[in-house]
Every structure is written in structure tokens, then in C-alpha cells.
Symmetry: C2
Subunit: 271 residues, 2 copies
């Protein structure tokens, strides 16, 4: 599949209009953002810790993760990125990249210049706020991860992570009947939850035996989301979805707001 640059902007616009209704001029500015598409294999570093960033990128297809290595060589994943995410948006105003980002499945990535983005943010406060908000939601997810890893046992922790993943995928239309494409190894899940790969296998088995999940090679099914939420102590508030009322941040909002381009949604991510 090929992905046109203009399609990229649709993704961004769609994502935000639930929160900020953008004017014609604003959406046009986003459309004009030059984007360069690239495809990655699994397990390829997209950006590396310590580098000085000139670009940022949007995930169009596939999953990626942010991670760091300890001096002992252990790996910790601190974020999972799904289509529609801008995993390294934080680099917009940070000089050095503080964590590496790697594709965990084959990925289609849209790169753009940070400088271009900074210019847009300077000119359009509302777009700036929309991007800013993205990074704030990411931080909120990180806070929940700290709680999850710090205070919940492996079983609960994994249930929580899977709930989060499902709900986020749902928000971009990648879940059907509680089932979604899930080509993520147990080793990756272990690195994301701070447990060992062996224990991950055992805990997943327990979740399976309790009927909370069904796993196949490439897919994961959640027959009863409510039960999984309960098992994972999952409360979706921290994801800050469905906050359309937040549009009120700019009460005297600009000119004519664009209507959503809805049909870009469903077909978008599915391969």
C-alpha cells in the first residue's frame, strides 16, 4: 500500500477535531506540512537515544515502542505506539533524544521536519495546543505505567496493559468484536511490563485459563472486556479520550471550523 502525504494530514486532523475544531487555514497548514514516508522491517531502530533530532514521525501502520537499556543490558519499554501516534513528538523542544524507538512489527512511518512543525506551532496557537495535548496524554499514560509497574502484580499488570492496548486501538478503529491484530512477542510484552519473558508466558496462560483472553499467533481476542478491565484494575480516564468538551479551551474559536473527513478513518490503518 502507498500512503500519500495528504493522507497523513488527514490522520492528524481527524485525531484532533474531537478536541479542537480547526479552521480552514489551520487544516491547510497541516496539509502543507512536507512528509516523507518510509517502511521499516520489524525490530529496526527508528530513532536512537543520544541523537539530536531534526525530524519527528507519525506511525501510519504497525506498532513501535520506546525503550531504554540498563547498564546490565536489561530492556525496558516505556511506551507502545500504534497507528496515529507521534512517538517522538517530545523531541520538538528537547535537544537530545532520551530514548530509542524501535519498530516491533513492520511499520510504515511518515517523517516530517521538526523545524516545519515549530513554524506551524508559532503561527497557529491552536495547532500548537493540539500537538502539546498529544504529548500531555502520552505523559498521562506514562504515569499510569508507573503505577502499573510499581504497584500491581504481574497478572493484574498484564491485564491492564492489554486493556489499554485494546482501548487505544479501538479509538483508531483497529478492533473488531474484541479481536485485534497483535503480532507482539511475549518478550516485548515482558519488556513493557517489567517482568521476565518466562513469567509473561505463565501469566498469559493464567489469563487464558480464566477465559479473559484468547491468543493466537497474530491476534488477540478479548471475549469480555469488562471482566478484563476488572482483572486489570483498568479505568480509561487516564487516556483522556472522549473529551470533546475540551474544545472549550478556545471559546472564541477561529473562523469556520472544518467538518471531519470521516471516511479516512476506517480504511486508513487496515492493511
Amino acid at each position: 500500500m502507498d500512503v500519500s502525504p495528504s493522507y497523513l494530514s488527514l490522520l492528524l486532523i481527524r485525531k484532533w477535531e474531537s478536541v479542537f475544531s480547526l479552521s480552514e487555514e489551520e487544516t491547510q497548514a497541516i496539509r502543507d506540512l512536507p512528509v516523507h514516508t518510509m517502511v521499516f522491517e520489524s525490530n529496526q531502530d527508528i530513532v536512537r537515544i543520544g541523537d539530536c533530532p531534526l525530524h519527528s514521525f507519525l506511525v501510519l501502520k504497525g506498532f513501535a515502542s520506546s525503550y531504554k537499556l540498563t547498564t546490565v543490558g536489561d530492556r525496558q519499554i516505556m511506551a507502545l505506539h500504534i497507528p496515529g501516534d507521534i512517538p517522538d513528538l517530545q523531541n520538538l523542544y528537547l535537544k537530545r533524544i532520551d530514548c530509542s524507538i524501535v519498530s516491533i512489527t513492520p511499520c510504515t512511518i511518515g517523517f516530517f521536519q521538526l523545524e516545519d512543525l515549530r513554524h506551524i506551532c508559532e503561527r497557529f496557537p491552536r495547532i500548537s495546543a493540539a500537538f502539546w495535548r498529544e504529548t500531555l496524554v502520552d505523559a498521562s499514560i506514562l504515569r499510569e505505567w508507573v503505577v502499573n509497574i510499581g504497584r500491581r502484580d504481574a497478572y493484574t499488570r498484564i491485564a491492564h496493559l492489554l486493556c489499554e492496548f485494546l482501548v487505544r486501538l479501538q479509538a483508531v478503529g483497529l478492533v473488531e468484536n474484541g479481536t485485534f491484530h497483535f503480532p507482539i512477542t511475549q518478550a516485548n510484552l515482558a519488556d513493557a511490563t517489567g517482568i521476565s519473558a518466562v513469567h509473561m508466558s505463565r501469566a498469559l496462560k493464567a489469563l487464558r485459563e480464566n477465559g479473559l483472553i484468547q491468543t493466537s499467533r497474530m491476534h488477540l481476542a478479548v471475549p469480555d472486556l469488562e471482566r478484563l478491565k476488572e482483572a486489570g484494575e483498568f479505568d480509561p480516564h487516564y487516556l483522556h479520550l472522549e473529551e470533546n468538551a475540551a474544545a472549550g479551551f478556545f471559546s472564541a474559536a477561529g473562523s469556520k471550523a472544518t467538518t471531519v473527513i470521516d471516511d479516512c478513518r476506517a480504511n486508513a490503518f487496515r492493511g
Copy 2:
């Protein structure tokens, strides 16, 4: 001690000028931000999870922490806040507060209206960027916390936390000869590192016996920071300090940049 509103703005200005050099107009806008000062006892909630925020606040004196409770009642602290921090800046563009913030020592707090802040950010892109950057650094710290809690053992984890605390305090001039005011209970430290209070006691003892730290009731001394850094696998890059070069984000920077008001620094926080 009393803290004048104008003093608050000095704090902010000082903090940022190392990264963004602000124009007269911009510093004035910050000075004009109406601020309301308030004093809190230890262990008082300053903001509560679930509320809809209208204000944000700056820590002027004392320490605070962001936390959440699990359904079992366990507590996890996901951020420690020191003077100069704006702990809930994330609420600027999030509708609901996703974690509570509590004073862990007596605190002097400066409140301001989020609406006022949004207006400033709309008018001054560089101020917006400066605030934004604050939230990005907070997120970077959260990522490191995920690594710390997820992949390091208790001993290393605590050493790391103490290093971070020391380095951050150093940046606002609150450390003398490796010694700083540290009226934080072991229970709080335990909640911040995701271990039990009992184990915290044991691990601190080990750190003491290895000569890495000296504890007294209200103070903590680090005789050899390099050794503690090594023990904690601590690399300060993630704090994104000393990035003055980042001023280059706005190459065609505005009018005449203000000079630092240096003397506001040392006397500021000390009680």
C-alpha cells in the same frame, strides 16, 4: 516568609532563560500573570484526581508528589516536585485531572488561572514553547522512572532516585556540599520507588553501610556523588538540563533579551 507575586514570575523567567531568551514584552506578560499564594501543611491534597482543573500552581517552597491509589489501596508516587516546578501543568489541555498531588512537606504554593496561562500561550509562542518544554521534561523523567521501577533492583533503584533528587535540587541551588534538606519519610520513598516501606529501610541501611549516603532526620548527605551515580546507574541526560543551545529553536529570536535576575536564585527557596 512571604512571597510576592512578582517573585513568582522571576522564578519562571530564571528557569527558562537558559533555554529560551525572552523579550521584554514576554517577561512582562509573565510578570502580569495574577498569582495567588497559599500555604499547605504536610500531607494535604493540593489537587485531586477526577476534578476539572481551573488553576495550576507553582511550588515555591517544600516538596510535593503526584500519586495514584490502586483499588487495593496501595499508593504509587509517580513524580516528586521541588521548588520551581509546576506539577500540574499537564492540566492545561486535559479536561480531567488524572492524578492527585499532595504536599509531602509544608509547602508554599502559587496558584494561577489556567485560562490566563492559555491566553499568554496563545499570544506568545515562545512562552508557550517554554511551558510546553517543561511538560516534556516531566515526561522524560517519567520514562526514566518506568525504567527504574521496571528493571532495576531496589538498591540500585533507590540510589538512582536519590541521584535524581540531588541533581534536580542542585539545579535550583538547594544543595550545599552534597547535603540537602530531606524531610521525606521512608514510606514516601517506598511509594515513589514501588517497594515496601520495610524494604526501603533495609536498602537505605545498605546504602549507608556502603558509605554512599548519610541520613539524619531532616537531611541527606551524599559524600561522593560519583559513587552514588554508579550505584544507581544514573545518567543525567534525561533531565535535559544545560541545554542552552536549545535557544536555537527560535533562531530569529525576538527583540532585546532580558538578562537574568541572578540574585533571586539562592535566597529564594531557603527558608
